[in-house]
């Protein structure tokens, strides 16, 4: 019997709409204790935290997670960069559900540390090939017509440490340079109408107000399409490490062009070829040439449960395989899951609504018989693009790249339930 036969019928639990007589999914599988079997503080007895009043409504004007979740934090890899002011930390994907990443856990990438900006003093200058060069205050920008969009944002180096075969310890480090938030701001096209872009204009330069003065060139077509100057993230003001008080949100494009702490946009007729688009954020091909301006984050996906940090610890029985998929080309149209390293594929369920250029949560039910698995997920987007194998990717791009490694990822599940990061094929 192939591992794929282990999938339980949907009828037993995904519907579950008739409780009386409905099939129990985990009964007899060690889930659910007999009544009154617990220590004194478990039901039907009264635990100690019900026996005295807790803190009232003035205790935390701005709330924080439970102290029991203190281990769920962004983590960095000290050896990865020379200094921590030009470095990266990673989102704990294995501890997250749904598609929204809470602001406190969004990965950070800085090139000169996080500037401490006074929003009353911050300005955005738009100049170059324009009729009316202007300087905007934050008050000005928040007065314009606004728009809110849920979009993922991914560093193009996500997964890049595995190009040559090195395996990160778990999903936080293998895929944690991605997050997904609801961004609110003013459309860049609205501001460009305000300054009046002149005819020969084709590109713009975006500059951050950090110590690196991070600068990237962006084609005007994209700017006019769906780029937002965001001042809010998941409802509240953008966090300092994510660009407070103002950042570019360039939907579906590599994180680096989503310039944080945005202070200047210059309009021109050609790209600027600054440091971050020449010596960095280019893809070195096998023939020694480099691909430049590879902006789109192509379709990608990863299983976040199980994963090395979340093993299959209950032995044989039911597990829900959970993961995330995303594509810079638009909506995810399908995610397939393989239990045998890509020989057989089955379609996962996508959580609705499936939004364009957003994380999409997928789920796949599995009755595990205890045999070893090679778990994979494969995303397809609405453009028809299918997430490639690492083999196919290396064939085209070689092994010199750092960026845009979006290949199918493999977790090896051992009979004991341990999950290991492996590369196959």
């Amino acid at each position: 019997m192939p591992p794929t036969a282990g999938r339980p019928s949907r009828r037993g639990f995904l519907k579950g709409s008739a409780a009386a007589g409905g099939a129990a999914l985990l009964a007899g599988a060690g889930v659910g204790e007999a009544m009154a079997s617990g220590p004194d503080n478990l039901p039907p007895n009264v635990p100690e935290w019900m026996q005295s009043l807790g803190p009232g409504v003035t205790a935390s004007p701005y709330g924080m997670p439970s102290p029991h979740e203190r281990h769920i934090v962004r983590r960095n890899v000290p050896w990865l960069t020379a200094t921590e002011e030009s470095s990266i930390n990673f989102t704990p994907l294995h501890e997250l559900d749904g598609i929204i990443t809470p602001n406190g856990l969004c990965f950070e990438r800085h090139h000169g540390g996080v500037p401490e900006i006074d929003p009353a003093q911050h300005r955005l200058m738009i100049h170059g090939l324009v009729d009316r060069p202007l300087i905007f205050t934050m008050d000005d920008l928040m007065r314009f017509p606004s728009v809110s969009r849920i979009h993922f944002l991914e560093c193009p180096a996500n997964g890049g440490m595995e190009w040559r075969g090195a395996q990160m310890a778990g999903v936080q480090f293998s895929h944690g340079m991605v997050h997904c938030c609801e961004w609110t701001g003013v459309r860049l096209s609205t501001l460009l109408a305000e300054v009046g872009v002149q005819k020969p204009a084709k590109w713009l330069l975006a500059e951050g107000a950090d110590a690196a003065a991070m600068t990237r060139s962006i084609p005007l077509d994209k700017a006019m399409d769906d780029v937002i100057l965001a001042y809010s993230q998941n409802g509240e003001r953008v966090r300092p490490e994510n660009g407070y008080p103002l950042r570019l949100m360039v939907p579906g494009w590599e994180g680096n062009v989503n310039v944080k702490w945005l202070r200047r946009i210059k309009i021109g007729d050609q790209p600027w070829h600054h440091r971050e688009e020449t010596s960095r954020y280019t893809d070195l091909m096998p023939d020694g040439k480099a691909r430049q301006f590879t902006f789109v984050q192509e379709a990608n996906s990863v299983i976040t449960s199980p994963c090395p940090e979340k093993p299959m610890k209950f032995g044989k029985g039911f597990y829900e395989i959970r993961g995330i998929a995303w594509s810079g080309y638009g909506r995810i149209s399908k995610v397939d899951v393989s239990l045998d390293g890509g020989m057989n594929w089955q379609t996962a369920e996508l959580q609705k609504p499936v939004l364009s250029k957003s994380l999409t949560r997928f789920r796949f039910p599995l009755q595990w018989d205890g045999r070893p698995l090679l778990l994979q997920s494969r995303a397809t987007d609405e453009s028809g693009y299918v997430q490639p194998t690492i083999e196919a990717l290396r064939k085209v791009r070689g092994i010199n790249s750092i960026y845009h490694k979006n290949s199918i990822h493999t977790w090896r599940v051992h009979p004991g339930g341990e999950v290991e990061n492996v590369q196959i094929g």
Copy 2:
């Protein structure tokens, strides 16, 4: 000329898709400074925060808002309740954008303070009219098939202080007992299939593990429809004040039945008539009888900008009117805005996607000529329900109620731009 004539044409900025030659919206209206007009640290000069490195990626494993946003917090009204352990605080709606409420700013309502629960010790017991009474650990619950949904949650007392005409100072206190998050958990119907609900069952009792042992009766039909036992909120574990480690999410129904710190569900054939559904959370009618089990939060809306906390401070010119609408019956189908206290109405733009039983952001562009306004919004939902006037609501329900006051709200805008909370009609 009626105030409604002040609406600018959409062409000038909502499209804005042709930058060259596009109409400038705010040019000449005091928005945007001339180049090089600022102090030394403004563009094109280099501000001080670009002149040294900021903190690196280990500085905040769990991030927080900028110190400049320290004033954006939940606030309570000290005189409202006898103790702060059985009280309420309010979401700062005037400072929020989009539809997602960040976890740290979701309003709190406790009946016995926030219990400090160890998730490893927490249990959920399901018993009563079932075939297999069971006790579940958090590990058990997180193993079941999961679902994620974006839903609003509103205390039925939201706005209740204004039933008799008292006016709260601003939108944080008039409407701030509502939030909207992405909730992930296991469907209650899945667990009810697990325990096997018996034939005569019609109701369930949900009990919290707080010092109040908060209990509410819920019809089984709703439980089987869309109720979730949520362990995640906006991606991460539910916050302590919002029910950590487990809460009921009863989409579209009054906050009180969304029992937090959920420890027990008993299945029965009739409601229990506990304290919170007899002496509280009932609606006292003019004839002295009380409506009981008025669960649904009917269509409601409010303008969050401008509002008393966010006056129209720029004088005459362009403003975007922004607000939120929601309904416990499903999707918002329309929001109308009035500038003249309900004599004339115009349709606002709804931010997509419009989700069922979720906050919906609406926007309406206004060229203000400086005349006084009576700003109102009116929500209609997909069931055809139209948000009523306070007059219509009082006619049916009198003025003895505390709960379910979802009437059209009015902000009076004075010529100087100050915004005042008033009741008309």
